[in-house]
């Protein structure tokens, strides 16, 4: 579905046909979910957040003027929502049950897979470590790597979504990758 089709569906939604938003959700839900899941590493939480992001998008649809691609606009909503969500979380941060006072130990949030079907592929150790390291990246690098290397956005889309210039996007991507590669190497994963 191209951006033109997105626009057509949006016009229908704005005219009162809310069901016309369904194909848009179907098109972008995996992308949004992957970003959210990569950021929060909790399946259920990511599911709820993804749903909220789409609801917020419907509510804010009137403000979409078609100056950028719809996907870019949606990603902006997604990124802002996640930022605010994280701020809220930090305000009400949870204390880990297995926290340790030792300096060389730290708590790791593992993906919550309780609700996942048993026949699903269980994330292997490599992916788990990879996710941990993505989580530990500075925000600037983490967000941009998720958009680029997990969601597969182009440099231009990332530039529009994050509101930073193209060269800055490239610099961050390469530096982020380098940092992540070094950490994965230190952990013996690559």
């Amino acid at each position: 579905m191209s951006n033109t089709e997105d626009i057509k569906n949006i016009e229908k939604v704005l005219a009162g046909d809310i069901e016309a938003f369904t194909p848009i959700i179907k098109k972008y839900q995996d992308m949004v979910f992957r970003y959210v899941y990569s950021k929060f590493n909790n399946y259920d939480e990511a599911l709820d957040i993804t749903q909220d992001i789409f609801i917020m998008a419907i509510e804010a649809l009137k403000s979409f003027r078609g100056e950028s691609k719809f996907s870019t606009w949606l990603y902006s909503i997604m990124i802002n929502y996640c930022k605010n969500y994280r701020k809220k979380q930090n305000r009400f941060s949870l204390v880990s049950m297995n926290s340790s006072k030792d300096e060389d130990e730290y708590d790791i949030q593992y993906p919550d897979e309780r609700e996942r079907p048993e026949d699903e592929v269980i994330m292997n150790d490599s992916l788990r470590i990879m996710k941990e390291e993505i989580q530990n990246l500075p925000d600037d690098y983490r967000d941009i790597l998720i958009l680029r290397d997990i969601d597969g956005l182009s440099y231009n889309d990332i530039s529009d979504t994050l509101g930073i210039n193209l060269s800055n996007v490239k610099v961050r991507i390469h530096r982020g990758r380098e940092l992540l590669k070094n950490r994965l190497y230190e952990r013996g994963l690559i």
Binding site: F33, T50, I55, M123, D151, H174, Y185
Partner: protein, 259 residues
């Protein structure tokens, strides 16, 4: 390239196919193949990109969210529209409460004044209605109080009067009048005057009930009069006055005159 090895940034750009010229790209690839360190570094980058791909493949929704999103959106919209009207509703409730409390407070301070006014205003409205009904039905008003109107009506008009008084409680007493006329009528009907006079007695007159029971017996034929007390609608207590003329005495008069 820094002369010896390829910078990571260039490898990353190569990964994204973002090398400016084909010549530079080939040069980088050539170096990677010839330099162990750069080859290992590039292999690590490739390995990391495979892990990214693994995440992309693995982290997928297990369900289609489109249905639930639309449903949830509509549900929230309904709630929002409800909460939108809440300020208006709240304002109305506050206004009503404030008005009610004020009235209650004022009422508490001036109970006697309000009470007397309600007695004087409300009955006055109903009094005028009842007076009008009574007048329309050729009945005579004997007494008007705050609680009831006392009057008399002929048997012929009684039924209509009772009907028009509607929901108002009603108490009546039946009395005979003008014994001479009654005697004439009784004679015309061929019945013994005494027998006719005693008929009401057997029906336990006076007694309290709605007028319908009496009307069925068509007392209008005998020119009896109904003395009634029509209770005004705001009255909770009906005050029953003793009959103006005891029926027994009247009956005795009839009997005496007939004898």
């Amino acid at each position: 390239m820094n002369g010896k090895h390829i910078m990571f940034q260039k490898m990353s750009q190569l990964m994204d196919n973002d090398i400016a010229t084909e010549e530079e790209k080939n040069s980088i690839l050539d170096h990677i193949q010839s330099c162990d360190q750069c080859r290992r570094e590039y292999a690590r980058l490739q390995e990391m990109m495979k892990l990214f791909a693994g995440i992309r493949k693995n982290d997928r929704l297990r369900a289609d969210l489109s249905g639930s999103v639309v449903k949830e959106y509509l549900s929230r919209k309904r709630k929002k529209s409800f909460f939108k009207i809440m300020p208006a509703v709240a304002a109305a409730v506050v206004f009503i409460l404030a008005f009610g409390l004020n009235s209650y407070w004022q009422g508490g301070r001036h109970t006697s004044r309000i009470a007397s006014s309600s007695l004087s205003v409300a009955p006055a409205n109903d009094t005028s209605k009842v007076v009008d009904i009574i007048s329309r039905n050729n009945a005579k008003i004997l007494k008007v109080t705050d609680l009831y109107i006392e009057g008399e009506v002929s048997g012929g008009s009684f039924k209509r009067l009772r009907k028009e008084l509607g929901f108002r409680r009603f108490r009546m007493h039946l009395y005979g009048e003008k014994a001479g006329l009654r005697r004439i009528l009784l004679k015309k009907s061929g019945l013994s005057p005494i027998k006719r006079i005693w008929m009401p007695k057997r029906m336990e007159i006076p007694r309290e009930q709605s007028g319908s029971g009496y009307i069925k017996n068509n007392y209008s034929a005998f020119h009896y009069r109904f003395y009634f007390e029509a209770e005004l609608s705001n009255s909770s207590v009906l005050i029953i006055k003793p009959p103006h003329t005891p029926l027994e005495l009247y009956s005795e008069d009839i009997c005496a005159s007939s004898s």
